[in-house]
Symmetry: D3
């Protein structure tokens, strides 16, 4: 058992039905946490469900000529379900710290969006600067939400920017704003709002390293109904994949990835979990093809 | 208010979490009626559910630079659930009559499509003529449906045309016809069937005033599954919003709006109610920007 | 009120459809909190759902010859949904403190079982001692659950006993124990485990005042499936009502009541919410008949 | 029949998988009507669903030594779904009139409870008097419910008593009353409220003929969750069967039977429809054994 | 028919509410079989559900000027539900053999995809060669799946190619491959993989006769969530209809059609069954217009 | 890895959250098979779901003074999902054969009831005779069901009696019979039908060894709705536990146990899976206390 696995429990089935090898450089792990979800909890069930449905996906990529079975990754299991934000934060920091020291790239399965804070905060410690590319219908830039709560999925990007001056954020096609968030974003030189793949290419190409955080509600509710706060008029899955691939290909370095806000409790035949699994597979394929 | 109530809110989300002011000119109200729904009842639950989920939508429009909080509207609440068509008709007529006298514009949350009849029939009393723009997969022009029933959501437009010579109807992109309805529509000079936004612009631009009735089944079932009679191959939400905006911008006068046939009983994670709330928000934004 | 509102009702069913009068001595309020629920969140939806379905219950008690409409209580509404345990605790303490000062009896609609801690902790401040009668499948006496978490619905009674030496607990027919909890209960002179109505009568009759906390999972999952941690082989609703009535009748004084752990997300046709509403009604009837 | 149809069966399960013979004296038919249901519509789906699940029930009665296949009944099919109370009433009256003239005994599958009015009103025309034995959590004696509506499932027994002086009603173990209904029942010499099988035996034994109307909400929601207005603390299925059998055995004559208020939309794995089918089977068995 | 049956309809919706005439050349029948479905069974419920919802679709085609009521087809009903692959295969072979001899064209409603094997194997007996056009996310070319199982929905096309040298397969836009299947397809001269309507036109136009097998998972999960193995990033319904129409118009001869893998157990408001019904209607319309 | 584990894959979480030790004498394993289920498939999901919910059950038995953690058992995982009856039978026979040779007692989690055949058929090979005690609403004694199918969950006990003369069956309180089955049971000297715990005690006490097969539909649908063919008027969970305990205590030897027909697809909040897990726990406790 590796150090970073101390807090993780095995989950079976594993992602794409493959445990992988402990020596591989990409490590997939789950953070079944939803106690900061303001509308509809249930994201705690996502890591296990994404793995369960992932074994139904076919694994060969004709364009790359490679199968998932040949990719280099390791499924390290899940953190325990905890209900306290502080405890979750500590556990995630310990796991990501361990991965960091071991030179591994974290791929996290949320959980609500609040899990991105401890992951990125830990990663940035060892970096000079970091661009976080965010796929999300929302900006998650509130100062407090819900009433009186400072740490939640709706404030995570605000907290992230406060956590370190080294972090900047590039949003891809957000579409739902409170006035407060919109004005905050406009006024900050560390926030980019990008509406096209070309802009995305520009910003990512000139920044490095890059962390990618994908809130599944960036995709339209028709394709991803199983999420905490669905918002009409989102991306199609093809648009999401194209943009994701662009980031992976253009970034000087990719240091981590998460897929968050999948909520199996309110999904329809697991199509949201399946899409999340597919997006993880796409990440692995395109990350593999970087080399 | 008692001291101990300081932190307590009444259990009643209003639309977008805002009651509004009684003096405002746009009045939102619900008609929780589904006793004329021929396939799948449950539309009675829509007004409350649309309000509940509406508070999850972000409220700032970057393109207009305005927030919902600044718009002028008043949420007047719901009619009681009644099960008798005649009683519903009387209650709606009284409400719309009162609004009319007070110079208010009604925005109704259905209920099945039959609620449009008493609204429009009352409004037209004070008008010289009226164009009803209908977004619907269907034409609702049957003479009798189901067996022996003359007042239902499937006959509402036929009854409307009979109610007053002053009414004409413009359908935007209907896609499901009985032969009877199709021939009836073709033979009537008071019915327009419009397949493009350009045609819509033409017809609306030269008619006035305009009432807009939006059956949510005009949108494709992937985006709006929670409805009484979903029909494949409908509009995308973006297409619906574009056409809705066109009508609001082009009309000489807009005298009312309804969103009908949302059925929360058979929805998936309330995405249909969310879309309906978003369409009401779009109406309010574009109606606001007319001024 | 405007003319046109004559037929419109605000969208907000109060408990049993009755707001009550602010001067009445019993105050019903909701605590929509579930961020400490270890298995299945969704209890945040209970206060609103219990009210919604409560209006379907008939309100006349032939045995008492009185209707709910004649009872003395006031529905004060709900706390906001918050996701942070500390914030919830503060808000509850302020509400219960206010009620206490005003001489009101609190009836709380949970929320997960953790909400009982701030209620009782606040109430006991003004009392010499307090017996908490607990209906629950479980003992909620763990020291830490889940992993690393000290404040949750699984530790609430342990924290309560620690909060004040003045508190003792009488469990009615618990049926699911960890060994740790069982030994802890056995070793504490402040914990009673009662298996019969007779025992309940004895203990309650000789203690005063009494607070009643009813975890809906005390009832069998067949009758109350919509709960966070259903446990087979529980009470029938009649057994629960008989025991509840016994406590109310036998207690020297009753200082508060809560119904917790109803989870509408995983219920079947709201039968659990209906049962919870019925239990609140029974409480109000029997509390009324004490006088 | 074409050759290729040899292995094909028409898609239409009849009750217990048996069409029966047109000359048989008991006729089963469905009334898929729910437009007078005040809380939760969906009873229109009951007749078809009850038949579908009925084919899963085993058909041999060891105590009677007879199989359903040997019983005398005919499944005549369903009325069309109509949404107008007046139309439904006319259609039911025609069917029951036809059955009456042909000397057949009607067994009706509802639909909401309002369907009992036209059935019984038609039957009583040819009778000197009629006792209606009602299994129901409620009394359905309101004068108007919902607001402004005189014909609904909540007023059906009031309308029935008004329809003919020859009708009296015996309720078996009702448990939910408005004060208005309770006082009305107490003041009427044509209403009996019976709390035990012995009382039932007395009243039924001395009255004749008897019609039986079974609202599935008489059974506890645990056993029959799929109904419009579930009410806690009802009969067990065994208690219901015992009472039903008592009525059939003790009545001088049985002239009809209905099972109403099954709502498949809000059921759990069709257990309510299965129970309804079983109750129809019990009726047929015990009616058969009278001879 | 007895008098009292005048208003009663048998409980059995046929496809589009029309039994058709036995002498018509197109015969629709259902195969409610799902015992070879590897992930999510429930396809056995599709034939009945597709018929039930099909009666909600409007039936007039303005572009063809014809109604479904004028088309020539006969709904022959369903095979019994059987659970054994061998028994299903025998029954289907007998039905298709009978149809073949009578000169009828089979339109089959699955069931899982395994039902295509006995249909096509029987049809090809009388033909010199046969092109099977397959709409499917997958290739169904595995040699064994699940573990140890040679006859299943995942191996059906492999078995079909083995069944007769006369069969070749044209896949339209498959998108999920195992490496084994992909290499097998590439190495076989009897397999075409077509990515555009133009290619489809070429291949179909030069082959004859043609059988069309449409696995509903070819359509994107947003539009067709109710299926056994949904796979992200599929066709839109319009793309599917366009391609289907192309095949029907271009083929020298069309000898059969099936729609498979609809799973009503995991659908959302039956939108997948509705789409399947619509696709059958489109087949009938375009097949009619060939003549 | 033990021999018998060759075909089994690990499942996490394990039953009651405990893998156990390979040297322990009781081995729990799952058979996720439902391809012979005649009404409602989904039993393939039971083994994993029962384990998932089992970790929510408290583990201390006050009456025995022992915790599940101290019991001797090993969770060996699940067979792969296969869809072919013959393949399932072979795999089960290999696993049970391996267990038998290793002197282990099998505890199987179904799957539909057909899985009992290969288990018992293998066990009886090494025994002189075997009494199978069956808890079931049904007798499963049909010769063929569905149409043409000889191996299914409805014929399993018939096939078992044919498999070996050494087997006899004792049914506890069956309640649903076809006439064929009832007469077959009455005519066979190897079949006992027992209606009381006393009779059960007599028959079990004088027979040895004993295998116990518990079809969850023996319990009433209110308590166990999630099953393939729910049948009204069954056992309460307490009655089931009492009878199960009686068999374990009275039997000279217990050689195996299975819990079958749990169907998570059609359950309500997993209460049926929870009950099944509880029954396995009860088996382990009472089996432990035999020693
Ligand atoms: Mn987010
Ligand atoms: Mn978001
Ligand atoms: Mn309409
Ligand atoms: Mn429509
Ligand atoms: Mn508790
Ligand atoms: Mn509890
Ligand atoms: Mn009733
Ligand atoms: Mn009732
Ligand atoms: Mn396929
Ligand atoms: Mn496929
Ligand atoms: Mn069985
Ligand atoms: Mn059974």
């Amino acid at each position: 058992m590796k150090d970073f696995e101390f807090y993780l429990a095995p989950v079976a089935p594993t992602i794409f039905g493959r445990k992988g090898r402990a020596e591989d450089g990409v490590v997939v792990f789950g953070v079944p946490f939803d106690s900061s979800s303001s509308r509809m909890p249930g994201q705690r069930f996502a890591p296990r469900r994404i793995r369960e449905v992932s074994v139904e996906l076919e694994t060969f990529s004709p364009s790359l000529g490679v199968s998932v079975e040949e990719l280099s990754f390791y499924d390290a299991g899940d953190l325990p379900v905890v209900t306290d934000y502080v405890v979750m934060q500590e556990l995630v920091a310990k796991v990501v710290g361990g991965l960091s020291e071991a030179g591994k790239l974290p791929v996290a399965l949320g959980g609500d969006h609040s899990i991105t804070l401890p992951i990125v905060a830990k990663l940035v410690e060892k970096l000079g600067k970091l661009l976080v590319v965010v796929f999300d219908a929302h900006m998650d830039l509130r100062d407090e939400w819900p009433w009186g709560v400072r740490f939640s999925h709706a404030t995570v990007m605000r907290r992230l920017l406060e956590a370190s001056e080294k972090i900047s954020i590039a949003y891809y096609s957000p579409r739902a704003f409170s006035e407060e968030e919109y004005r905050y974003a406009k006024s900050s030189s560390r926030i980019h709002v990008l509406e096209s793949v070309e802009k995305l290419k520009d910003v990512v190409g000139s920044s490095s390293p890059v962390y990618i955080s994908l809130d599944i509600d960036s995709v339209d509710p028709a394709f991803a109904p199983g999420t905490g706060t669905p918002e009409p008029m989102g991306l199609t899955p093809r648009e999401a994949v194209t943009a994701l691939r662009t980031v992976i290909e253009q970034a000087g370095e990719v240091v981590g990835f998460d897929v968050v806000e999948v909520n199996p409790l309110v999904d329809c035949n697991d199509i949201t979990s399946l899409l999340a699994a597919k997006l993880v597979m796409e990440f692995l394929f395109w990350f593999h093809s970087r080399k």
